[in-house]
């Protein structure tokens, strides 16, 4: 009895209450996240079609993957997309944020206007619009013909189809822009005044004051956009009508994963693909985190 009373009654009451509050999350975490994570790791070493019991095949899924032309294509499409779309989107977001960080009439309206594509951009409606814009008789070619340029079916050409999806992603720079704006607001005005007294030119101030002080926000946006871009699905699915074509040129990684898992019911293979995705994303995030101490400037000396 005495040992038990080490924890006072009040404390025990609080522990119980805390777990009651935590219970929905705890069930969700164990049942829908942790359990499935372990289970999908197991499934990645099996052949599994949903209806029959999984059959252990060791590393065969992973071996098959590296010889699967479509898997290789999907990895290429996604990495090309990430390496082009993420930087262009962040640069556009940063430049517009600097432009919109001034005090002027109508600024709230401008910010809303530039944010709007990000708000709508994830929807099927906009993906359908995009598909139409870049069709052979779409708006883009109509505008081009106005300038006497002969357009072509952009989304049906394997060299250009991915480009249209990259443009769609870049168009949605508004969300990162808003975060940049919040970061710009936190830079102390005195620093700009001091720079002006020292006679710094505009580019000098931008590269020596704005950019270093904004680096934690750049870091944040980079991680977020990276995670988002690696998981692109809706636009690729709608624009290619679920095929990933022409000639696999828009076969995004997640689109191929979907095809393998839910149209061909090779769920073991799809699980293996998912784990490669988790692994690559983890490694990239770690690289960014470790590199951050060389380029991210924290005012309080590096404590997160």
């Amino acid at each position: 009895m005495k040992k038990k009373s080490k924890i006072s009654k009040g404390k025990r009451k609080q522990y119980i209450a805390a777990y009651v509050f935590l219970l929905p999350w705890l069930i969700g975490f164990l049942g829908l996240v942790l359990g499935p994570m372990i289970s999908s790791l197991y499934l990645s070493f099996t052949r599994f079609d949903l209806l029959n019991t999984p059959e252990w095949i060791g590393l065969a899924n992973f071996q098959e993957m590296f010889q699967d032309d479509r898997w290789i294509a999907s990895a290429k499409v996604t990495s090309t997309f990430v390496f082009i779309a993420v930087p262009t989107q962040l640069i556009a977001a940063l430049l517009v944020a600097v432009l919109l960080n001034k005090k002027m009439a109508g600024i709230g309206f401008y910010r809303t206007t530039y944010y709007l594509p990000s708000l709508l951009g994830g929807s099927v409606a906009i993906a359908i619009l995009w598909k139409n814009l870049f069709e052979i008789d779409g708006l883009v070619n109509q505008v081009l013909s106005f300038f006497n340029i002969q357009g072509q079916g952009w989304i049906s050409h394997p060299d250009y189809a991915l480009g249209t999806i990259i443009i769609l992603a870049t168009w949605q720079f508004g969300a990162s822009m808003v975060i940049f704006l919040a970061g710009l607001k936190q830079i102390p005005k005195e620093l700009y005044e001091a720079a002006a007294v020292d006679g710094g030119t505009k580019p000098q101030v931008f590269f020596r004051v704005t950019l270093p002080l904004l680096s934690p926000v750049i870091f944040f946006n980079l991680v977020i956009e990276l995670i988002k871009s690696i998981q692109v699905f809706t636009s690729a699915f709608i624009i290619s009508e679920g095929t990933g074509g022409p000639i696999n040129s828009t076969l995004f990684y997640t689109l191929y994963l979907y095809q393998k898992g839910f149209t061909q019911f090779e769920m073991g293979y799809a699980s293996a693909m998912a784990w490669i995705l988790v692994f690559v994303l983890g490694v990239m995030t770690l690289i960014i985190f470790f590199s951050s101490k060389y380029w991210v400037h924290y005012e309080d000396g590096g404590k997160l």
């Binding site: 609080q14 935590l22 829908l32 289970s39 999908s40 002027m104 530039y114 919040a182």
Partner: protein, 280 residues
């Protein structure tokens, strides 16, 4: 001096407006096209037309026999509303425990919660599908709503934890003096003061659920369970590209709930994103 700053200001305005128009043009063109007769949509890139019509809306609305877009809208609204309410309640409960209460294993669970924010959904996709399949939940709204009741959107828990930590502890203490229990502190102190973060959560849950195509295409396979995004996709399957007018009309309708929510709560949205994790 004054004159040059004025010209530069003017130039900035002009640049922002021109570039902004350029960005919005596709969407405006789609809205305009949805009111044009089918034959005139592709006659010129202009948003103006000689003739206006509502035919695209009536034709698009009844895209499939027996089922119309009214059913798709009903399904989408139901799923989104449940998701919003569920996220508000269960995420705030978890956040309250993490931000305010002491309990064994707190650090471990908190680390687990943070980890799930970065985890791509694909890591749990197939077993989750298997679970819902075995429960017979495929083709119902349960796979899309029950996870929200179990606070699986950890991102919002994190957002709320950050917010709750900023609420002064003295308020809790004086509430305890007045005889409030832990539950009353949550309902009477924390929740009323947390309205801004609750609104942010509600808005983003609504928008993301409304637009979420991936889980809907996985779990909803029969036309009567379809949501608006799946309804839109039907056009690509069934009628090819012959009826862009109807497609645009329904696309415009599908964007109305999101834009309405956005314009009503605009101030909160921009603030909400701006405080997302940065001040961490």
């Amino acid at each position: 001096m004054n004159q040059t700053t004025n010209t530069s200001k003017l130039l900035t305005h002009v640049f922002i407006i021109v570039f902004g128009l350029f960005m919005l043009y596709p969407v405006v063109w789609m809205v305009a096209s949805s009111f044009k007769p089918e034959t005139l949509i592709f006659s010129s890139p202009s948003i103006f037309s000689k003739e206006w019509t509502l035919d695209n809306y009536t034709n698009g609305w009844n895209v499939v026999r027996n089922v119309n877009f009214g059913q798709f809208f009903k399904n989408s609204f139901l799923i989104s509303l449940i998701a919003v309410l569920a996220n508000l309640i269960t995420c705030s409960m978890a956040a309250y425990a993490f931000a305010r209460l002491k309990f064994p294993l707190k650090k471990l669970w908190f680390a687990c919660m943070l980890m799930t924010i970065m985890l791509p959904a694909h890591a749990t996709l197939i077993p989750q599908y298997t679970i819902f399949h075995n429960l017979g939940w495929v083709n119902t709204i349960l796979p899309l709503t029950v996870p929200k009741l179990l606070a699986t959107d950890a991102f919002f828990i994190f957002l709320m934890v950050q917010f709750f930590r900023g609420i002064p502890r003295e308020l809790d203490e004086s509430a305890i003096m007045d005889g409030c229990g832990i539950f009353q502190i949550y309902t009477r102190i924390i929740m009323p003061l947390a309205v801004p973060v609750l609104i942010t959560t509600a808005i983003f849950t609504f928008i993301w659920t409304w637009d979420d195509f991936f889980s809907q295409i996985l779990y909803l396979n029969t036309v009567d369970t379809f949501t608006v995004p799946l309804g839109l996709r039907l056009f690509l399957d069934s009628q090819g590209e012959s009826s862009w007018g109807s497609v645009f009309a329904m696309s415009v309708l599908s964007l109305i709930p999101i834009t309405t929510v956005f314009f009503i709560f605009q101030r909160y949205i921009v603030e909400g994103i701006a405080t997302t994790g940065i001040k961490g």
